[in-house]
Structures are given as structure tokens and as C-alpha cells.
């Protein structure tokens, strides 16, 4: 069939005066957008193939390349947008489910931006973190109801296992398979250097990375890939993944072509076989079932590691979280509807789930009301973009946050949202050897360390401005927040006052 | 300790450098028959053509080389004899010098064939129109002598003869090259290659003619009687049939002589305090195990250096050598090394056209030789190193017998990384 409705999304503009025909773009584009014509001695490009990942733009030594949104337009229509039309054309062409990568890109409210922070003036002096101590360390895990001390003042309560984080940030679960080994190495090394944790995701743990165990949280998800005793004991915590913000209620699918020898060994599946994570855990149909898995894992690890349970932020997240805590989880992880993914059905990604801000506030409130907030730490994720998002999350009740997309961006991701093609030009979401190489862990782990260190500085500045000298003193301190451009219901659920109040 | 070096070219000067690396104290004396500081001997044909100017003739080492190296240089001095018993040498100026370690780097002399009348014409140095071509002095004299109208005859179509042709082309009326062999550069090239080079020289040279399979029966004042009984005129005759090692001094001193001065693996002669290096020695050929003579600059520099080290107390073995040649005639490059003919040698012609030729020779899974004509951009040194190191080509990542552009990635990963990181030792 020759009829093809595909039109380019982007337009590559090459400055002929600047192009030196060095062909770096030709060699670097895994999508084969650029090609050299020796007859004319010029480099040409095929707009149709471009995903706008900026690899060529960044590597072009003379900065001769610009990529712009393609000028081709449909007749103006606020309802039948060009995106809506193109999606229909695509499905009419393929008959398939639309797939998308990374988080929900749609224009939905970002509540972080509608929350403003407080600062001290006159009465409660602000603190300069450069001159005075400022604690950003947090302990993740169940806290006892009461603390008992002996006469000497030593703690005699048996403390449940805790994970110490120097900064209330962790790298969220991204499996080896969905991202490359080099990306994992960069995350693991950065977490080690920073004194925080990264999460293996549901792909097992490569033997080379067991050495980063003190900074690793291993994940157990519905596919149970790579799960065995050594793996469970390799990290400092275990996360049971029930759901993911980008695709609540949906499982996962790593195509066989990404299952090479190394991934195969790590996941414990045959080379080239599709790795399918079912939508539910087939052994979990109730809170009681979940409790069984939690305690099975605790038994396996001799009650030495906190057990995380991760869910997507959905409508009745607060009640579910309560059940999770009662099932014995030490950490509840909630992933908002903007959370990223390697691949998810577009409709699910863009229409299922709720904003993390609301899920967080309501879960924190519910656990407090039930008197079990101390029984578990609350970690949130789903598009944390900067340090002020983190400060706001902590004031809304979070103990720490997971970052995924932000970490990938630090490693070179340009949010072209083409992860599912497996041809990530930045060496992140790919298993192709020549592309994986492009992510040099020596360089990228330093960039991750830079990012988290910078955010840590900013967190300290904002805390100091509020007259607070420890992250722990901010947690759930909603008086430090005010809403703007929010209605009464939104304010009520978030538990914050309007600006000026 | 007194070091004495006879000869001031490639081997001699590299010996000075090597000695000074290990010994900054003791006396070094260098004696040269010539009147110049070190110069790149192969440059003399470039001087003849004008490509190299007088001042650039001496750029091989900086002017103050000898002072810097604290070496006492005696120019214009001929050593008449050596007394190895009392470790003394005697010069033509009645000078006698003592030594503790002596290096003979006396190089080679032009080979003068037995042709009637030739010897007296050459001996008659000053006004003679018969030349040899080995020293800068020869080049200066020849350059002075030639006129636009000169008819030049070059006896010997070897490397030196042909470089003279290139150097003179355009400056004289015509040049005739005479050689007994059926092809030019017979010791280096086979028939195909020789023809390629020959036609290039005929094409690019100005009135250059070849008379092969021809000899000279008699040298007369202005004419030559050829072996085919024809007589040709000449204004200038250049005798360039080859070189022979300059061993007279060594022989008279009672040192063992074969084809050249005999040395052991440490470049020691039959007398333990006398070393020899460069064109004057014979050494073992990498392939045949036979003693051979190779008058080659590169080998001489290396031997000089090794001799220097051994003289100053560090024992360093010298490896076996093979012929390597980098020659250009009128812009045509000829790079070759090793051997290309012999029992069981397989030749692989990789590229061949009217004026390019790329051939490698394999014996028992090892590269033993190659010829590259007009393929200047090939990385020939990789071939040379394969020959030198005796690498089994089946251990390489590529089949070099079909490889158009030899590259370093022929070596397996571990080897190449190691080699690259270490550099050549």
C-alpha cells in the first residue's frame, strides 16, 4: 500500500554556511535522519525520521543544525487538534494500541506551581545554611509508636530497620532492560557518592552492581524477574511494585529484541523472549495477600530491610495506603499520574490516575487520622522537576521523593519520548551496544551528583528561609504552604490555606 | 674512560647521543674524513636538484650538537691505523689518540667496477669528469661541473644512480643510464615494479634514456666503449654501481672481516674494546640467517645507538635486520621492505594499476615483505612492524592479504590497546 498519512513532526534546518560536512550527525543519528551525498558534497536529512532528540544538534561542532516544529498545519480546530487527527490516522494505519513514552505531556494543572512557600521575616529569623547547620538527612522506615530510654539516656526500644538518606531524594525504579546498563551504573555510582538510594526496577540486578548494595533498593514486581534470595538481600530495602503512575492497572512489556545475553541473565529469562509483567500480582488479591508477600520478603531478609509498597496515585489511594501500612509495609510509595515510563498505552497514560499532590495530601491526612502515620514512611514520585517541588512535597507530608525523569534528563535525555523504539540516541533507553556506549558512566554519574547536590543546596536555602533547620521539621508542616489559583475543594484536600490567609 | 668514534654519520652521531644518555662525564672524540658536521647523507641528491639548499643540508642535528654533547669533533682527519694492543689510533696529521672504547662507523665506499680506464679517471679527482656519488663533497663537485649542455652517463641503475638522475634532470642536456642488469633497481624490484618505475622516470625525467643489459668496456676521455661495441659521448660520467663496506682500517688492525666487519650481538668486533656499526658491518638477515650487507640509514642509526649503549656499559642486544626502502623518483613513491621472492613465498597483489602497485609477501603465515608503489597514503609502517615482529598473521583480526588499507585494528583488542598505551619500545 502506498498511501501513507505520515507527515514529519519536525523540520531540520541546516545552516549551509556552517555545515562542514564532517558527518558527525550522520554517524550519530540512530534513526538515520541524516545522510551524506558525496555527489553534491552536502549533508541532507529526512525530516520524517526525526524524533527531535537533539543528539545531532548537541554534537554538531559548528552548531549548524536547528530542529523546529514542522510548519505543516491542519486547519485550526480546538477540538480536532492535529494530535487528535494524527492519532486516528496512525491507528487507522496500524490497527494497534497507541504507545507512548515518558510521562503525561498534556496540559493538565501542575499543582506544585499553584502552591507557594513561606519565609521568615522579623519574628522568626531565617537561617543561613552556609553559616549554620542544616539537616537534610532523613530516615526511611517504620518508626515505633513509643521510644523508651534507660537511666543513662540510651535508647532501649528496638528500632525497625531504617534507610538513611543524606538528601530526601532517591532515583526511582527503572529496570535494566528499559534503560541501559551504563545508565544503571551511573545511577548506582551517583547514589553511592551521594549517600542516597537508587531502585533496580523490575529487571533484576546485574552481578556487576551488587557492590553498590548499600545504596540499592531492589524491586519485586508482578513478573518477579530476576528475583531470588541473593537479589532480595543485595540492597538495603525491597520494593513491591503494585502499580506505576504512568500506567495504573497495566502491566509491563519488554520486547524480546531488548533481551540480550546480559539482560537475559539478569532477568533470568531466555534470550530474545518477551518479558511480560502481568497487570496484577497473581498472588495478590487482597490486603491480606499483600501482607503475606511483605512478610515472606521480611522472612527472607531476616527482618533487616524495610519493605516498600509502590502504588499508582488513583482515586481511592488514601484507603489503599492505609491498607498497605496495616499489611506491614514500612514505606508507602505513591506514583502520580505524570510519572514516566518506557512505554505505556497512550490512553492509559494520559487519562488514568490523579495528580500526586492530591494523593499525597490525602494519604498523609488519612494515615494521621488513623494514628498510623509513624508506621510507614511516605515516598512520592511522578514528575518531581526541581527542588521546590520537593520542599512542597515534604511540607505536604512526604518523607522523601523518587526522581526518574529528572535523573534521565541529567544523563542526557532530551524528552523526545521515543524510548519504546529502543534507539535512544543518548544511550539511556536502549540495549544497542553502540548506543549504550554513548552514556559514559564516568561522566554521567558526576552530572547526577551535581544535580542532587545543587538541589540539596536549594532545599537548604528554602528551609533556612522558613526558619527551619531540618527536613524533619518541615514534614507535614502545611502552614508553610499557601495555595494560589485553587478552589475551595482543592485547598481543602491539600489541607492548605489560600494566599493572604 | 675515553670514547673514540671513527666516522661522523648516522651510526657515529647516534652513538654519541646514546653514550651521553648514560655517561655525561667521559671524553668523546669523533673523527671524520669529511669537512662537515653530520648531514643526512641521502640528502645529497636533493642538494643536487636544488630541493635542499646549502644551509639546510646540516639540519640533521642542531649546530651546537657537538658542544652540547661535549663531543670533540675532528674534521678532515683520516685515521691511518689502529693499534688495538695499546689502544691507540694514528691519524694522517701524525696525531695519536688513546681510547678505552672505540667505535668504527666508517660507513661504505663507492664500488668501482673493473673497467679499463675507469680507475685512472676517478683518481684524477680535481678536474675529472668521472664521479662517484656518496658524499656531500661529491654532490658539490658535480653540481659545479654540470652545464645545461652536458651529456651525462650514469653507470648503474640502482638507487644511487636513479637519485642522481632525478637530481640532474632538467639541469643537463640528456642523461643515459647504463646497467648490466635487465631491469632497474634489480636488488629491490621485480620486473613489473621495475618497469613501472622506469617508465615513470622516462616520462617525468628530462631526456633520460636507459641502456639496460649493457656494460661499459672501456672508459676513455670523452667517450665510452660499450659492451655492444658502440661508442657514446659523455661530458660527465657518474659511477654508481653500488657501495662496499669501508673495512680497510679494521682489516689492518687485525679485526675479523667477512663481507663486512664481523660483530657479535652487542656490536663488538673480534676485539672486545672495538665496536662497529653502520654500513661497514655485516649482520644477520632476518630471513635467511645469512650474513648480509645493507647500507641503510635507518639500520645504521639504530646500530650506532646500540653500539653507544653497549660501549657505555649497558648490554643491549641488537635484533636482526631486513632491508627497508623509502624512495621517491619524480613524485613517485616507492616503499618496500623485506623480501618478495624466494622458496614458498606467496605474493598477494592487492592493488595494481598502470602506475600503482600494492603487493605483500607471505611466508609460513608471516609477512616477509611488501612493495607499495605510488600508494603513499597507505600506513606502510604497520606492515614493516608485522615483518619486524614476526607476527603470525592468522592471529590478526583481519585477513591482511585482501586488505586494501592496512590499519592498526588488525591487532586484536587487547594487543592493540596495550601497544597503543605503551608506545613502541
Amino acid at each position: 500500500m502506498s498511501l501513507n498519512f505520515n507527515t514529519p513532526l519536525f523540520e531540520i534546518i541546516r545552516d549551509k554556511n556552517k555545515c562542514i560536512q564532517c558527518k558527525v550527525c550522520v554517524r550519530q543519528c540512530a534513526n538515520e535522519v541524516h545522510w551524506y551525498s558525496s555527489y553534491e558534497n552536502i549533508v541532507n536529512s529526512d525530516n520524517n525520521k526525526c524524533v527531535n532528540c537533539h543528539r545531532c544538534v548537541i554534537l554538531c561542532p559548528t552548531k549548524a543544525i536547528t530542529i523546529r516544529k514542522h510548519r505543516l498545519e491542519f486547519r485550526n480546530n480546538s477540538n480536532w487538534t492535529s494530535n487528535a487527527i494524527k492519532e486516528i490516522q496512525k491507528q487507522a494505519d496500524t490497527g494497534g494500541v497507541l504507545l507512548s513514552s515518558m510521562g503525561n505531556p498534556n496540559k493538565l494543572p501542575i499543582y506544585w506551581d499553584k502552591i507557594l512557600l513561606n519565609a521568615s521575616q522579623v519574628t522568626n529569623p531565617s537561617i543561613d545554611p552556609l553559616r549554620e547547620p542544616m539537616e537534610t538527612k532523613v530516615m526511611i522506615g517504620r518508626k515505633p509508636d513509643k521510644l523508651k530510654f534507660n537511666k543513662q539516656g540510651d535508647l532501649i526500644t528496638d528500632m525497625p530497620p531504617q534507610i538513611e538518606l543524606n538528601v530526601p531524594i532517591m532515583f526511582s525504579a527503572m529496570s535494566y532492560g528499559s534503560i541501559s546498563k551504563n545508565a544503571h551504573e551511573a545511577l548506582a555510582r551517583a547514589a553511592t557518592k551521594l549517600g542516597i538510594c537508587y531502585n533496580t526496577g523490575e529487571g533484576g540486578l546485574n552481578k556487576d552492581f551488587y557492590k553498590y548494595g548499600k545504596n540499592t533498593i531492589v524491586q519485586v514486581a508482578s513478573g518477579r524477574f530476576g528475583v531470588y534470595k541473593d537479589y532480595l538481600n543485595a540492597g538495603v530495602g525491597i520494593e513491591i511494585k503494585i502499580g506505576q503512575g504512568a500506567k495504573p492497572g497495566i502491566g509491563g512489556h519488554l520486547p524480546g529484541k531488548k533481551v540480550g545475553a546480559d539482560v537475559s541473565v539478569t532477568r533470568m529469562i531466555p534470550i530474545g523472549s518477551d518479558a511480560i509483567s502481568p497487570a496484577p500480582h497473581h498472588d495478590i488479591y487482597s490486603i491480606e495477600d499483600l501482607r503475606q508477600l511483605i512478610f515472606a520478603l521480611k522472612e527472607t531478609t531476616n527482618y533487616s530491610k524495610p519493605i516498600f509498597v509502590k502504588i499508582a496515585a488513583v482515586h481511592n489511594a488514601a484507603a489503599i495506603a492505609s491498607g498497605i501500612v496495616r499489611a506491614g509495609a514500612d514505606v508507602v510509595v505513591v506514583d502520580g499520574f505524570r510519572g514516566g515510563t518506557g512505554a505505556a498505552p497512550t490512553r492509559v497514560r494520559d487519562n488514568v490516575g490523579i495528580p500526586i499532590e492530591f494523593a499525597l495530601a490525602s494519604i498523609d491526612q488519612r494515615l494521621r487520622e488513623e494514628g498510623i502515620r509513624n508506621s510507614a514512611s511516605l515516598v512520592i514520585s511522578g514528575s518531581i522537576r526541581n527542588s521546590s517541588d520537593i520542599v512542597k512535597a515534604i511540607a505536604l507530608g512526604a518523607d522523601a521523593v523518587y526522581i526518574g525523569s529528572a535523573a534521565l534528563i541529567a544523563m542526557g535525555c532530551h524528552m523526545c519520548r521515543s524510548c519504546s523504539t529502543g534507539k535512544c540516541n543518548w544511550g539511556i533507553a536502549t540495549q544497542q551496544y553502540d548506543l549504550v556506549k554513548r552514556l559514559n558512566p564516568d561522566i554521567m554519574y558526576k552530572r547526577l551528583v551535581n544535580l542532587i547536590s545543587a538541589w540539596n543546596h536549594e532545599i537548604q536555602e528554602m528551609l533556612g528561609g522558613m526558619g527551619i533547620n531540618a527536613v524533619d521539621s518541615l514534614r507535614g508542616n502545611k502552614l508553610m504552604l499557601r495555595g494560589i489559583d485553587l478552589n475551595e475543594t482543592e485547598l481543602r484536600i491539600l489541607g492548605i490555606k489560600y494566599v493572604g490567609e | 674512560m675515553k670514547y673514540l668514534i671513527i666516522g661522523n654519520s648516522a651510526a657515529g652521531v647516534n652513538a654519541i647521543e646514546a653514550i651521553r644518555r648514560l655517561d655525561q662525564q667521559n671524553n668523546i672524540t669523533v673523527i671524520s674524513e669529511e669537512n662537515y658536521q653530520i648531514y643526512g647523507r641521502p640528502l645529497i641528491s636533493y642538494y643536487l636538484s636544488g630541493k635542499i639548499k646549502y644551509k639546510n643540508m646540516f639540519s640533521y642535528k642542531e649546530k651546537d650538537f657537538y658542544t652540547k654533547k661535549k663531543a670533540n669533533l675532528l674534521l678532515n682527519t683520516k685515521v691511518n691505523s689502529i693499534n688495538t694492543k695499546i689502544k691507540k689510533i694514528y691519524t694522517n696529521d701524525n696525531l695519536s689518540l688513546e681510547y678505552d672504547k672505540l667505535l668504527l662507523a666508517t660507513g661504505s665506499l663507492p664500488f668501482i667496477p673493473c673497467i679499463k680506464g675507469l680507475k685512472q679517471h676517478i683518481d684524477n679527482k680535481k678536474d675529472s669528469n668521472v664521479f662517484t656519488f656518496l658524499t656531500f663533497e661529491d654532490s658539490l663537485r658535480l653540481k659545479n661541473k654540470i652545464k645545461k649542455t652536458s651529456k651525462v652517463v650514469v653507470l648503474g641503475a640502482g638507487l644511487i644512480g636513479l637519485k642522481v638522475v632525478e637530481g640532474l634532470s632538467g639541469q643537463v642536456d640528456n642523461i643515459t643510464v647504463i646497467d648490466l642488469s635487465d631491469r632497474i633497481m634489480a636488488s629491490v624490484l621485480n620486473e613489473i615494479e621495475a618497469n613501472m618505475v622506469k617508465s615513470h622516470i622516462e616520462k617525468c625525467g628530462d631526456n633520460v634514456f636507459f641502456k639496460l643489459k649493457t656494460g661499459i668496456s672501456e672508459v676513455r676521455n670523452d667517450t665510452l666503449l660499450l659492451s655492444n661495441n658502440t661508442v657514446i659521448d659523455y661530458d660527465i660520467l657518474i659511477v654508481s654501481v653500488g657501495v662496499k663496506p669501508n673495512v680497510e682500517l679494521a682489516k689492518n688492525a687485525g679485526l675479523k672481516i667477512g663481507k663486512g666487519i664481523i660483530v657479535n650481538n652487542y656490536l663488538q668486533t673480534s676485539n672486545k674494546d672495538v665496536y662497529a656499526a653502520g654500513d661497514c658491518i655485516e649482520y644477520e638477515d632476518l630471513f635467511s640467517n645469512n650474513k648480509k650487507l645493507y647500507a641503510l640509514w635507518t639500520n645504521a642509526t639504530r646500530q650506532g645507538e646500540l653500539a653507544g649503549y653497549n660501549m657505555s656499559g649497558i648490554k643491549m642486544k641488537y635484533s636482526r635486520y631486513f632491508a627497508i626502502n623509502a624512495i621517491s623518483f619524480f613524485g613517485m613513491n616507492l616503499l618496500s621492505a623485506g623480501i618478495t621472492t624466494g622458496k614458498d613465498i606467496h605474493n598477494y597483489i592487492i592493488e595494481s594499476s598502470i602506475n600503482t602497485f600494492h603487493m605483500i609477501s607471505i611466508l609460513n603465515n608471516k609477512l616477509v615483505g611488501f612493495v607499495l608503489i605510488n600508494c603513499p597514503n597507505k600506513r606502510a609502517g604497520i606492515y614493516t612492524t608485522l615483518i619486524n615482529d614476526g607476527i603470525d598473521i592468522s592471529t590478526l583480526d583481519y585477513d591482511i592479504t585482501t586488505m586494501k588499507n592496512i590499519k592498526f585494528s588488525i591487532y586484536p583488542k587487547k594487543n592493540r590497546t596495550k601497544k597503543m598505551w605503551q608506545g613502541a619500545a
Binding site: 554556511n17 556552517k18 562542514i20 560536512q21 564532517c22 558527518k23 558527525v24 554517524r27 550519530q28 548537541i58 554534537l59 561542532p61 559548528t62 553502540d434 556506549k437 554513548r438 559514559n440 561522566i443 | 643526512g40 647523507r41 641521502p42 640528502l43 635542499i52 639546510n56 639540519s59 640533521y60 642535528k61 640509514w297 635507518t298 642509526t301 639504530r302 627497508i324 623509502a326 621517491s328 613524485g331 613513491n333 616503499l335 603513499p376 597514503n377 600506513r379 606502510a380 609502517g381 604497520i382 614493516t384 612492524t385 583480526d397 583481519y398 592496512i406 592498526f408 585494528s409 583488542k413 590497546t417 596495550k418 601497544k419 597503543m420 598505551w421 605503551q422 608506545g423 613502541a424 619500545a425
Partner: protein, 154 residues
């Protein structure tokens, strides 16, 4: 002495080093002019292997440099630091150096009768290829630093 070292596992084969090498060796030092208008050879060579990997290679500035031994005119020499340098004014284009370089890193120019070899950007002390490698696949390291890493290839 500091030399440029190549790390094959990191090399992308993008050949940016060649672009910058040409720039460094140009008269104008302007990347566009150097690569478009001036005829310049790159002294660094990116090689592809049979495993589809790449590595960059340039003069190794050998301790015992064969090219210096072979040079008949003194055009190739070692400077005080140990950098093997080339003076085209003295060169007679005999290609003896090309014939002996074990790495094939001394090459005849594509454009003229000179030879091309890396001089480690000695005039600035900062090789442009290294500072512009996007993946740290070539590094300017002291020989001693590399000795420690030799273990990897042993």
C-alpha cells in the same frame, strides 16, 4: 610526560576529534574555515574494528621513536619534553617515517608532499581533540597514570 590515550570502550566513532584536530592544525584556527576552506589532514585517526567498535589513534610519541631513527633530514625530532615533532621545512618527503611507524600514525598528507603527525598541540599544551571528545574516549594523561590502568589489558 603527558600523552593522549584512547579508550576503545568509550569511543563512539563520531570523529569529532578529527574535526578538531584539523582545526588545531589550521592556520585560521577557525573550525568552519579550517574544515571547509583549508586543506588540512587530521593527525588523529579514528579506526573501525571488526567488532564495529572504534578507537582513536595518533602518534604515540614513542620513547624510542622509529620515525626519528629513519628520518634522513632531521625533520622529525624529539623536543625537550619528549614530544616527537615534525618540521616540514626540513622534510624532503622521502616517507621513511611512514615506512617505519608501527602505528601508521605518521602519514603522508592527502594534499601536499608533507607528512602529518600529532604534535600534542604543544603550543597550547591542550590537545583540542581531547577537550572536544564528547565521551571522554581520549584522555590527556601522564604516562604514570596509564601504567596503573595497564592491568586492564594485561
Amino acid at each position: 610526560m603527558k600523552k593522549i590515550y584512547s579508550f576503545e570502550d568509550k569511543c563512539l566513532g563520531c570523529k569529532l576529534c578529527e574535526v578538531y584536530c584539523k582545526t588545531a592544525r589550521s592556520k585560521s584556527k577557525n573550525i568552519i574555515k579550517a574544515n571547509k576552506e583549508e586543506n588540512i589532514d587530521s593527525a588523529i585517526i579514528v579506526e573501525k574494528t571488526n567488532k564495529d567498535t572504534h578507537f582513536a589513534l595518533q602518534c604515540r610519541h614513542c620513547t624510542d621513536a622509529k620515525c626519528i631513527k629513519a628520518c634522513i633530514s632531521g625533520a622529525i625530532f624529539k623536543d625537550e619534553i619528549g614530544i616527537v615533532r615534525y618540521d616540514k621545512e626540513k622534510c624532503v618527503s622521502c616517507l621513511s617515517c611512514v615506512l617505519v611507524c608501527p602505528f601508521g600514525a605518521v602519514r603522508k598528507s592527502d594534499f601536499n608532499s608533507t607528512v602529518t603527525k600529532c604534535d600534542l598541540c604543544f603550543s597550547t599544551g591542550k590537545p583540542l581533540c581531547v577537550s572536544n571528545c564528547p565521551n571522554d574516549a581520549i584522555k590527556f594523561l601522564d604516562e604514570k597514570e596509564i601504567d596503573d590502568r595497564m592491568e586492564i589489558v594485561k
